[in-house]
């Protein structure tokens, strides 16, 4: 599956992983590097790591590859960034979690559950007219489910944003 989804102007989706010092301001410094180049951030996940002095960030952003290469260099230049890397073109473990709440009258429930089954989505809430599910997987799988659920009308959707980890002995 191609990690790169190409849009207009050679724009593509990129998955960037950063390992940063856990200091106030580090998030703004990183966001400023993107915003100054007019590069849109699609998702951003900041989390703790095995070491309390450091955080990990996963950023998915859309734009052209040359600009992104420049952005990665500028991120690496930040004093609080230990390393920043574009993983878009590498085989890494990638996961995302999403919650969907759809319109679902009783007569369409069976159909909905069939879709959920196909995507290994878990029903987490049910009411007379709604159904809520949780699904985990690659971002592309979540995109596909989203497309399927449109026919039911998606009332609400929330996604955690992609997190990734290098495979095997390699460090992220």
């Amino acid at each position: 599956m191609p990690a790169e989804i190409t849009g207009g102007n050679g724009a593509a989706r990129h998955s960037i992983s950063l390992y940063v010092a856990n200091k106030p301001g580090v998030l703004i410094r990183i966001a400023l590097v993107f915003s100054r180049r007019g590069y849109n951030i699609d998702s951003l996940v900041v989390s703790e790591t095995e070491d309390p002095g450091f955080s990990r960030m996963n950023i998915v952003a859309t734009g052209d590859r040359a600009t992104l290469e420049q952005i990665i260099k500028q991120l690496n230049k930040l004093v609080d960034v230990i390393h920043a890397r574009d993983y878009s073109y590498e085989d890494v473990i990638q996961k995302e979690l999403a919650l969907f709440k759809i319109d679902c009258a009783p007569e369409r429930r069976a159909e909905a559950l069939q879709v959920m089954e196909a995507f290994k989505a878990k029903t987490i809430d049910l009411s007379e007219r709604t159904l809520a599910v949780e699904v985990t997987g690659s971002s592309e799988k979540l995109d596909a489910l989203e497309t399927m659920l449109r026919s039911f009308h998606i009332r609400e959707m929330v996604r955690t944003g992609k997190v990734l980890m290098a495979r095997g002995e390699a460090a992220t």
Binding site: V20, A21, P24, G25, I28, R29, L32, R36, E69, Q70, K73, Q74, N76, K77, L78, V79, D80, V81, I82, H83
Partner: protein
């Protein structure tokens, strides 16, 4: 009674002294009082400026003239926001500064307390790094890191925002070991890269060395000279690379770019290899990116990896310190066979010299050229921004990178006078001249009071054309001579103004007086201001209109109205 531990402010001053700080430029306010208090009786000289922008530019001029880190100290809120232009100026030109801003007590942050501003937030894009100090015990470490970050690698300004409760708190003795796991400073290049550079250089018939500020910062003058002489390669320098190879050297073609010499720009068009040593291919020199040196091999040495391939795609990028990399490269060089090429550049120099009109009204170029002759190329020259800056760049031939001080990347009007004050403090006993325009000078002229107090012999040469000349030039050339917002009517009498500050004033209005008056001003033992009333409508040439190709350089006034430039300013 047990000995009281020192305050955070005292610890801060201790470290500044250990770091070799001689001068602090600044202006106090409520939040900075503990910091100023800690300076009383200490072995650091405090220079009280009239405006915080002046303080930062003074620290900047001091840093450029000496290579040491400049230090400024201001208060919170408006004191801190007044430093922004100075920080931006220093960041754009890679100048090592430590700027300490007093801040309201930590518990008021974000609550709109009096003079509480989000200084970190306002300054993120204008600093190499910054700190908001929350624990007094962190001060020693942060100060060490700040000085290290400011001056190492690609230098830049570091800001320390210091809440009053922190600077006033008692410190418990703590280690000051730096913790910078995300920061590393490249030094040497990989052998293979150096070998490749040597091969490319050996193959070149028409090599050209492009020397930028990075070469000056790295102190690579000896290596650049050795490189140029061994290869027999002509050299062009950027505005901030002036003097790394003395501009009187026969291989140096002077400044390139928008207002560079015709011979430097012609060399750009015809070279078959160009090697940048610490220049970032700024738009002032490259102009039209897709037509810049298209057929030349491009090599780029830079300490900042983010500069490689940023705007100009290169054949070989080498990340490292200019001096170190050139030292690795020199033993591998073979003497180039470039006699024809060098002869060609000499023909250009002869056929397309810098020139100006000698008849009629007094010309700025004449005044600047005469100043150059009188000082024998030995003065430290600072400039403001505009036409006078470009004329100074053309007619002052620099002998050393630290003798030419000008705001390049930011183009900050108001920089000339305060940077000259800082430079003179850093290098007492040398001649320092600030060449300024009548517009920019008025942006920071309040520092005349600072100058008077210091009693240092800075000379200020006001190139007075009664216009915001550089903007007028653009309106003249590209906007059908429609002047808008450029007439500086209402200017004061600068000689009287100087007098009001206790500074001796001189005036030049005729060509015949230039030498005599300049000499009198230079011989005057104290500070002096020279008001040179020059031709109002002169334009700077050569000129490559912003975004145009080098081949479209104008050598003199065009006969028609030009298209509006495609580049920025």
């Amino acid at each position: 009674m047990a000995v009281q531990e020192k305050t955070g402010a005292e610890a801060l001053v201790d470290i500044m002294i250990e770091e070799g700080v001689e001068y602090i430029f600044g202006l106090p306010g409520g939040s900075a009082i503990p910091l100023f208090d800690a300076l009383v009786g200490r072995n650091i000289k405090l220079v009280l400026t009239r405006h915080e922008q002046g303080a930062v530019h003074m620290a900047d001029g001091y840093a450029r003239a000496t290579g040491k880190t400049g230090v400024a100290l201001v208060t919170s809120g408006p004191g801190a926001t007044n430093t922004v232009t100075g920080l931006f100026t220093a960041l754009m030109d890679s100048i090592p500064l430590v700027v300490v801003t007093g801040q309201m007590p930590a518990w008021t942050l974000g609550l709109d307390a009096f003079q509480e501003a989000d200084v970190s937030g306002i300054t993120y894009p204008c600093v190499k790094h910054s700190y908001l100090v929350k624990d007094v015990d962190d001060i020693p470490r942060i100060m060490r890191e700040a000085f290290f970050l400011a001056s190492s690698g690609r230098p830049g300004p570091v800001l320390i925002d210091m809440p009053k409760n922190v600077s006033g708190a008692r410190i418990s003795p703590k280690a000051d070991t730096m913790q910078l796991p995300g920061y590393s400073v490249p030094k040497a290049a990989q052998d293979a890269e150096v070998a490749r550079a040597a091969t490319l250089l050996a193959a070149a018939k028409r090599p050209l060395l492009l020397v930028g500020h990075g070469a000056a910062i790295s102190g690579a003058a000896t290596e650049v000279r050795a490189l140029a002489e061994t290869l027999q390669a002509p050299v062009v320098n950027t505005l901030l690379g002036k003097g790394v190879l003395p501009e009187t050297h026969e291989l140096n073609l002077g400044m390139l770019g928008m207002h560079g010499t015709a011979y430097a720009n012609k060399a750009i068009i015809d070279c078959d290899l160009i090697m940048s040593i610490g220049s970032r291919w700024d738009d002032r020199i490259v102009s039209k990116y897709d037509e810049f040196c298209v057929n030349a091999v491009k090599i780029h040495i830079d300490i900042d990896a983010a500069e490689i391939n940023k705007v100009v795609k290169v054949d070989l990028g080498i990340v490292g310190d200019a001096k170190t990399v050139l030292r690795q490269l020199l033993p591998r060089l073979v003497k180039g066979d470039t006699a024809d090429w060098v002869r060609q550049t000499k023909r250009w120099r002869r056929d397309f010299p810098l020139k100006f009109q000698k008849e009629g009204k007094l010309r700025a170029q004449q005044v600047i050229q005469e100043l150059y002759r009188l000082t024998g190329g030995k003065a430290i020259v600072t400039t403001d921004v505009g036409q006078h800056q470009m004329w100074a760049a053309q007619f002052i031939l620099s002998e050393s990178g630290r003798d030419w001080i000008s705001s390049g990347g930011a183009g900050t009007m108001g920089f000339g006078l305060p940077s000259a004050i800082g430079a003179q403090l850093g290098r007492p006993g040398e001649t320092v001249v600030a060449i300024v325009g009548d517009g920019g000078f008025q942006m920071t002229l309040s520092e005349l009071a600072t100058l008077f107090n210091l009693k240092i012999p800075v000379k200020i040469l006001v190139i007075n054309n009664h216009y915001l000349g550089m903007v007028r030039q653009w309106q003249n050339l590209f906007y059908d001579n429609r002047y808008s917002g450029v007439d500086l009517e209402g200017n004061p009498d600068f000689v009287k103004l100087a007098g009001a500050y206790g500074i001796k004033g001189f005036r030049i209005s005729r060509s015949a007086d230039v030498r005599r008056v300049l000499k009198a001003a230079l011989d005057h033992p104290g500070p002096a201001l020279i008001d040179a009333e020059v031709e109002q409508h002169d334009n700077v040439f050569p000129m490559i209109p912003a975004g145009a190709a080098h081949k479209d350089m104008l050598l003199g006034p065009p006969r028609r109205v030009l298209e509006k430039p495609t580049g920025g300013t």
